[in-house]
Symmetry: none
Subunit: 404 residues, 2 copies
């Protein structure tokens, strides 16, 4: 609920253990009128049993009609108001490929672009060069050295790359160099406040060194930078919730996000299945109070528009679920960060089916399964995703009474 | 959601077309326990089909338990927080009878009253004179001329009238002249800030000229003025939503309100039926992105306490609905601005049955008809009316993703 003062006042150090299982983009739509959503089409006997026993509802990630990116959607699940706590584009992009950004560092998202002989942009995406070409260029750019900061540059995908400068008291208040149009030159690096002047000079120096390196590589003979940002210094789980929290996620982006709120990232393998991820929770069970477990492929298959494949991912999670239940969590929340209907091939604003299983305290309802339609019958109603953490803490016996 | 900064950030210029069909005061209550509401009693095969196909829920116009006037209730439907954006009484009253009020003009609501020989008020409503008498008096008062402003005065109903002064940089920060009690004289016109001093003098001059005109017309030989106000300069649809919007409404009040948010008012005839109004939408379909269509008589019959007549109005709308569907709106919202239960003969605070039909993206639910009870099964839940615009924009594909 992002009322962290209240959380600090009410949380207890002791209590039950909480698992937050996020199937990314799990919510969906029927492909045809009258048909099931992917979650409803999937055979999920374990989740359905938990839904029958526990409480269900639907969460609104940001607000009615607002389609969230993964960053703000996860912040909401973590209890942080995503309209208040904003993570810069540079930081998110860097996290996405596993580059960490500290409070003193500055990250930017880069786009390779095409420049004509006069240095004016002719294509803002460099003809969408393949990722291999972007990789090659980033390796060349890695040779750049600065006095006073350590640059790291890595390809993201196609024409996109991320740049991180690590140093002391770097200041990310820099204007984009992307003019957002063709026919003009990339803008010089400019400080948006006096404290950022030194950082602006450093980045400009990097830009000046980079240009000759790219000169012969048309259509990717130039670049723009935007979304300069640092670690936003979010309040931490230990502080606001008194929770020792761990993250089990395969994708770098979610590992990075969880670190920003003070979770410890448990080692995973890029090829971990849901079962593997649950085993990792079990192995670390005694060490933490809270586990965030992230399943990526529900979202990926939704974005592919592949309804059947999304169904399969959900079924794979369900089959593995008994391993997670074996550790006997006091509170198990199963939800998504947002909906990704295969029909739309993209994230969407539709509320996310949410299941709260906490045998000691949950209030059962009429829902017979875990799915969009059944969740409408739930005792949790339709509510903001930012309230899930408070609810989980309550069911874990970790919140004291407010007022006498 | 009245977060216009977010809307400005997320809206796209292109997307589907939206129709917001408002049946004023459509929500209701059963007359007898176990009976239907007017909406449930009405035969509405078309709306019921849309409810089965689409998403339904209920909207809270202002807040739980708050009964809205038509002004704030419509602002909420338009996405404007009615507690933040307040339209003055004078402006609303003037709009109600088709008198426009610009940002430089000042409008007031007037009450004819009875004065004794000493000029003290003996009846604040002038014995509730008939509207014809009010009309006659307003025609006499129309002779008043001022140097520096153009006064217009018209009867509203019985003892009520509206006064608009049009000029340059008039300032509405004036205190009511209505002392809200009998036995005292109407108050002199007073400026509430220095900038309003000139306007106060102008209004006082009008008052001084009006008194002798009314002298022989007891019980309506005096008057008070209140609710001095100007166009509140609301953000406009084109700015906050990037929508070219049109209004189809028969009543002046709703035409005025829609102009305040930047809609263009399409010509209508006072005797337009719902079918006529839908035809007007069809005729202008290519020119606008958004249509607000207002049906007045659901509310009027509710206020009359005439349940059967309210049912008939709803049925008349349903019969005409296919004409509206012929234009193929991408998003059709059917709702009311508030409830007007015939049983209560007045506006009420009860949530309003709301139907969202957007075949490309709506999430179906278990509702089988458009009515208060069925809407409780809906996938939209019970939610603030101010969220309807955001939701409509999302379904029209007019909102980009929030964050990466």
């Amino acid at each position: 609920m992002a009322n962290f003062d209240l959380m600090r006042q009410l949380t207890r150090k002791d209590g039950g253990k909480i698992v937050l299982l996020v199937m990314d983009g799990v919510g969906g739509l029927p492909v045809e009128h009258g048909g099931p959503t992917a979650l409803e089409a999937a055979a999920t006997p374990n989740m359905d049993r938990l839904a029958r026993e526990g409480s269900v509802g639907l969460t609104n990630p940001i607000g009615h009609g607002i389609t969230p990116g993964s960053g703000p959607a996860h912040l909401a699940l973590f209890g942080y108001d995503p309209l208040t706590y904003v993570i810069g584009r540079g930081v998110l992009e860097s996290f996405g490929i596993g580059m960490l950004v500290g409070p003193d560092d500055v990250a930017a998202r880069g786009n390779f672009c095409s420049l004509d002989e006069g240095g004016l942009i002719t294509d803002r995406r460099a003809g969408r060069i393949p990722t291999e070409k972007g990789d090659e260029l980033c390796q060349l750019l890695s040779a750049i050295e600065l006095s006073g900061a350590e640059p790291e540059v890595r390809a993201v995908k196609e024409y996109r790359f991320a740049l991180v400068l690590r140093g002391e008291r770097l200041d990310a208040h820099l204007a984009d160099t992307d003019p957002q149009q063709v026919g003009v030159a990339p803008l010089p690096v400019q400080a948006l406040r006096p404290e950022a002047a030194h950082t602006a000079e450093l980045v400009q120096e990097w830009v000046d060194q980079a240009r000759p390196i790219l000169a012969g590589h048309a259509p990717a003979n130039g670049f723009t930078l935007r979304g300069f940002s640092s670690d936003p210094n979010l309040p931490k789980y230990a502080d606001v919730y008194q929770l020792k929290a761990a993250c089990v996620a395969v994708y770098p982006m979610y590992r990075g996000l969880s670190q920003l709120v003070g979770m410890e990232v448990l080692p995973t393998d890029p090829h971990d299945t849901p079962a593997d991820e649950f085993d990792r929770v079990a192995a670390a069970w005694d060490t933490y109070d809270f586990f965030f477990v992230h399943i990526k492929y529900t979202d990926s298959r939704g974005e592919d528009g592949d309804f059947a494949a999304k169904v399969k991912v959900i079924e794979e999670v369900d089959v593995a679920l008994p391993r997670l239940l074996e550790v006997n969590p006091d509170v198990l929340v199963i939800t998504g960060d947002h909906s990704t209907p295969a029909k739309m091939r993209s994230h969407s604003w539709h509320p996310v089916p949410t299941l709260l299983w906490a045998p000691a305290t949950h209030r059962p309802d009429a829902a017979q399964a875990y799915g969009e339609t059944e969740c409408l019958k739930g005792s949790l109603g339709i509510f903001p995703a930012t309230e899930l953490m408070t609810l989980s803490l309550a069911h874990a016996g970790r919140l004291t009474k407010f007022g006498a």
